[in-house]
Amino acid sequence: MVSLSPRRPARWFALLVLALIVLVGVPPIAIAQQTTTLRFWMSADPALEAAMDALLRGYMRTHPNVTVQRDAFPFNEYHQKLTTAFASGDPPDVFWMDVRTATFASAGSLLVLEKYLTPQNKADIIASGLIEPVWKGNLYGVPMHELTEGLFVNRTIFEEAGIKIPQRLEEAWTWDEFVTIARRLTRRTGERTDVWGFGVLRHLSDWSILPVIMQNNGAVISPDLKKATGYLNSPATVEAMKWYQSLFTTHRVISVDPIPDGFPTGRIAIFQAPSTYRAFLDARFPDFKYAVVPMFKGKRCAVTAGGWNVSVATRTKNKDLSWSLVDYLTRERHAEWVRTSGYLPVRKSLLQREPKFRQYPWGIFVDQLQQCQVHRPNTPAYNFFFDTFLAVARDAALGRDVQSLLDAAAARMDVSLSRGGR
């Protein structure tokens, strides 16, 4: 590798230059084509990508002049990838978008889809699905599906302890019942915890903790999305966060750092996770016995809901064609997508048509979606909110003073909100 054959320098340089030219000078040969190419981006997941490809093949069959070029990016880096693409003027035509709709819409990156979505089409979508894609009254995306959470319980542990597993929304545990059960199921040998009563998949995130705040009738940001002080540090929010903190500190039913695969390996008895977690458990841990129970409830029931919408870039050269893809994915093939992806339906027609969504366990998620759904703040400052909230929750779990944490966080949020999301 290092020893170089004895050639004269001139020839040797020529070789190097030649190699560089070969490397640089072979541009991808453009194949003459009459077809239009739509670029479609999604968050990476081997199973979802396969499901999406099946839909896209169907679209290309019905639209023979269109080629859809699908690319997927790791979930954690998806928004960053979108951001760089928009910033350098090279965005995809059609793409997955979530609660950050406001972030991208406020910068003018997203096409308003209001005129494309017929009233009849819109009326078929459940209320929960039309919150995240809307910003300042304009619709910037159409939901593919919805996602919400429940509590997953380890059947074996529950049966051994003789604890009844609730199966309907009305039977949801109250905070006190939940703490009692979680404490009972937590097992320790000396200082070592063998089983944690409680665990959360989206550990310490706003997604997971927002329900607790809302169950206590708290808030995080003012309804006009302009202020956090007086909301994020309101008495109800502080009280909810203190209760949540007590799960880590006083009751010690949940680990400060997440236990990887702790639930299916029997180290966590009750696990708060999204509805799609079922597909994961069934595929990866087929012998593991679990049950789904509704989220615990405080003064009211509350569970975070959200999901992926399909949006179109303002810069696309093919607006109508892009819409046809959006419509195909979200309306025509909605039932197939829901079936293959494991997400929850977002269309009333499908919810009515398929009885399984009214039965256990789907029924729990669907009922929660329609009766308890709360949403993360749809503000251009969502990323800042996400980071700030995560930091607060982590510090609270370590036992720091909740009031002062929330006061400081609210002050920081105010600055960010006043900058218009930056």
Binding site: R8, F13, L16, L20, Q80, T83, T84, F86, A87, T103, F104, A107, G108, S109, E191, R192, T193, S255, V256, D257, I259, P260, G262, R267, N383, F384, D387, L390, A391, R394, D395, L398, R400, S416, G421, R422
Partner: protein
């Protein structure tokens, strides 16, 4: 070697030939650095004087406001302190350990190649993989606490503690980087002529004195490299924080580049992020110059 070029007896001709050779030798690297480093840096420098929201094409000239803002930003100050602490701990730790390993492995001992390979392996392992594996090992119910438990020691919170998180990252980084610097020291040690030790031994010097008087001075160039490169890369620490701690708990692992990344890609303030980068650059350049000066050898830099 059939070289047609005749060395000119006149020194001006020699110099001209030398400049020409230097230009040819430097051309590819210079073109690469100008196109793919310098031009983007100049672009970033320009951006640092603007209010440049990543998603918004509209740019507003701010003058030095972004720079002033950085010095008033409490998070930037915390990040700066954490970065300095991280860098000092890491550079000192890895330099000393690398020197120790190099001295141990310089001796003719059995299994030298094995040990050298073992210590070098993390250098050629992806930082993403290492961060992922170490995060799992640092878990409250992870491998390291398993070992501590077996040894009868108490479990530690590691990344879940605001006092242990940063030292835990340093420990992992020493593990990851030390092999490379060990190799640099080893290569430097190979250059120390054996006779020097022999003559020193004849003069009655013990090993300690010969280490101080012969080995260390000859390792200067290697030390300059290890310290300067170590400092530069320590100041740019990002991946472990991004994958393992997210800057917490309680901002205890919030380091500059991670903060810059957040401001740029999550809060879209490219102008402010660029300004902080140039402040970082200034600090690192001053540090590098100081190290060059402190470790100056007779050869000019």
């Amino acid at each position: 070697m059939a070289q047609n070029r005749v060395i000119s007896p006149r020194s001006s001709g020699l110099a001209r030939q030398r400049y020409l050779t230097a230009a040819v030798f430097l051309l590819p690297a210079t073109v690469g650095i100008i196109l793919f480093s310098l031009l983007p840096i100049l672009q970033a420098l320009r951006i640092s004087f603007f209010d440049y929201a990543l998603l918004n094409p509209e740019q507003i000239f701010l003058g030095a406001d972004n720079y002033r803002r950085a010095f008033a930003d409490p998070v930037f100050r915390i990040a700066l302190n954490n970065t300095i602490l991280y860098s000092v701990l890491l550079v000192v730790g890895q330099t000393l350990l690398a020197l120790l390993l190099a001295l141990l492995l310089k001796q003719e001992i059995r299994g030298r190649a094995f040990f050298r390979s073992a210590f070098f392996m993390p250098v050629v392992t992806s930082l993403v993989v290492i961060s992922t594996v170490w995060k799992l090992m640092y878990n409250s119910q992870g491998f390291i606490n398993g070992v501590l438990g077996t040894l009868g020691l108490g479990a530690q919170p590691f990344l879940a503690s605001s006092t242990q998180a940063l030292p835990s990252l340093v420990l992992m980084s020493v593990w990851k980087e030390v092999g490379f610097y060990m190799l640099i020291f080893l290569a430097g040690l190979q250059a120390v002529p054996g006779e020097l030790y022999e003559s020193a031994a004849i003069d009655g010097a013990n090993r300690w004195t010969s280490f101080w008087r012969i080995t260390l001075p000859l390792l200067r160039r290697a030390t300059v490299f290890v310290m300067v490169v170590g400092t530069i890369s320590a100041f740019k620490v990002f991946t472990p924080v991004y994958l393992m701690t997210d800057g917490g708990p309680a901002d205890s692992t919030m380091v500059i580049v991670f903060y810059i990344f957040r401001v740029a890609f999550r809060y879209f303030e490219m102008g402010y992020a660029s300004a902080m980068s140039f402040i970082l650059m200034g600090i690192v350049i001053v540090l590098a110059l100081l190290q060059f000066r402190l470790l100056r050898t007779t050869v000019e830099y």
